[in-house]
Amino acid sequence: MRNVLHFKRLDEASGDTVELTFEGEPVTARAGETVAAALLAAGHISGRQTPVSGSPRGPYCMMGACFDCLVEIDGEANRQGCMTQVRDGMVVRRMTGARDVDRGSAA
């Protein structure tokens, strides 16, 4: 889901960029920022659906406490986007429902 957002990067935060994908779509991020920040800045406000009610959620606390920023990163389910730094070539996918536990860490 893409929305018109009021998140703006500060000029001071300029620097190298890295390329990742979210659901196959290219996202340009600043080196050193978190996956959650990169997705928000790119307009992806929701990265997951809850396992219980299926409602859409996105990064909220940005400090590791609320678990609403969960996404799949490079095949690993339930990663906290706000606690993970972007890397060039990262493949990020939406987290839908609960993860399969027997699937291991690599999909």
């Binding site: 396992p51 219980v52 678990f67 339930n78 609960a98 993860r99 399969d100 536990v101 027997d102 291991g104």
Partner: protein, 370 residues
Amino acid sequence: MADSAYAVIGGGLVGMAIAWGLANRGKQVTVFDEGDRGFRASRGNFGLVWVQSKGLNMPDYSRWSRLSAQLWPKLSEELGNVSGTDLELSQPGGIHLFLDEDEAEKAVADMEKLRAALGGDYPFEYLGHNAVKRIIPEIGPEVVGALHSPMDGHVNPLYLLRALHTGVRDAGAKVLHGPRVERITHTKDGFRIHREDGVWSADNVVLCAGLGNARLAPMIGLDAPVVPNRGQVIITERVRPFLNVPTAHVRQVGEGAVQIGDSKEAAGFDDSTSKNVIAKIAHRATRYFPLLENVRVVRTWGALRVMSPDGHPIYDKSQTCPGASLVTCHSGVTLAAAHAKVLAGWICGEDAPDYMEVFGAQRFALQKAG
């Protein structure tokens, strides 16, 4: 006239179950609960409604736990209705897994002894590795076997506590959160409850203050020799259901998280966590269920059990201050149904099982003397 007919001291699972039982019997009840500073087993427990292995040395405690498990579906339904919350009660039978043959053998012997003491009416069986695997395909190769009992189950203990709070208010009782009760005094016209912010009168007092009972009980002719015993607990990320029966140390909750516990530590009034204990608990869980190895931990906590010298409940009525009673126990989730449906009646003079008196605190004096 007194401010209330019954003052219940303590708003944890025990106090709220008793308050609900009293209020549903038409009694006018006020609950006095310490604020968030207090220690609360009710907010940190494991959520088992568990009968197997309870009361190995006190068959009446086993009977009482089983009675409560049988009353649980009714409690769950009633609380579900008043609170609009599904308590996630599930009683499919419970499993105690063993990684060690000797430990398993001893546990089975203890359970057989208890079954004999109960006249044979005590359903459980010992299952070997393959039989366990048919119930839980995900067990690891190190599991030697398990005790299985159809009497056991689990519930969401936080929904239970919340539902009791809703139910108690709904039944017309008052809950006064605030400073702790400092003193209780007894005069010829009843009891006085003293807090920093005021004094309230009551015709009867029920002590349900968990660890706080030890200090309050002697003020009204009761004895509550309870001490803290710490348990540490792990919660994992939510994963698809793989475990549809509760086990004694690992269970999957309604929303999909796996709850892993619990240690038993004499740590005084310290409910923090420690890395070595959490690591031990986590390691044991991965031996039970190797698939947990790549499941992420999202939270850990410690909480203090309310332990009597023999681990069994204390239910007592004061001889010197008529109208004062004491309710405290270790397994307040399991016993919530018996507390609300039976014990609340015993407190206000209804008939109760004839074995109630074995739970009096005088047994500790006898145990010491004997």
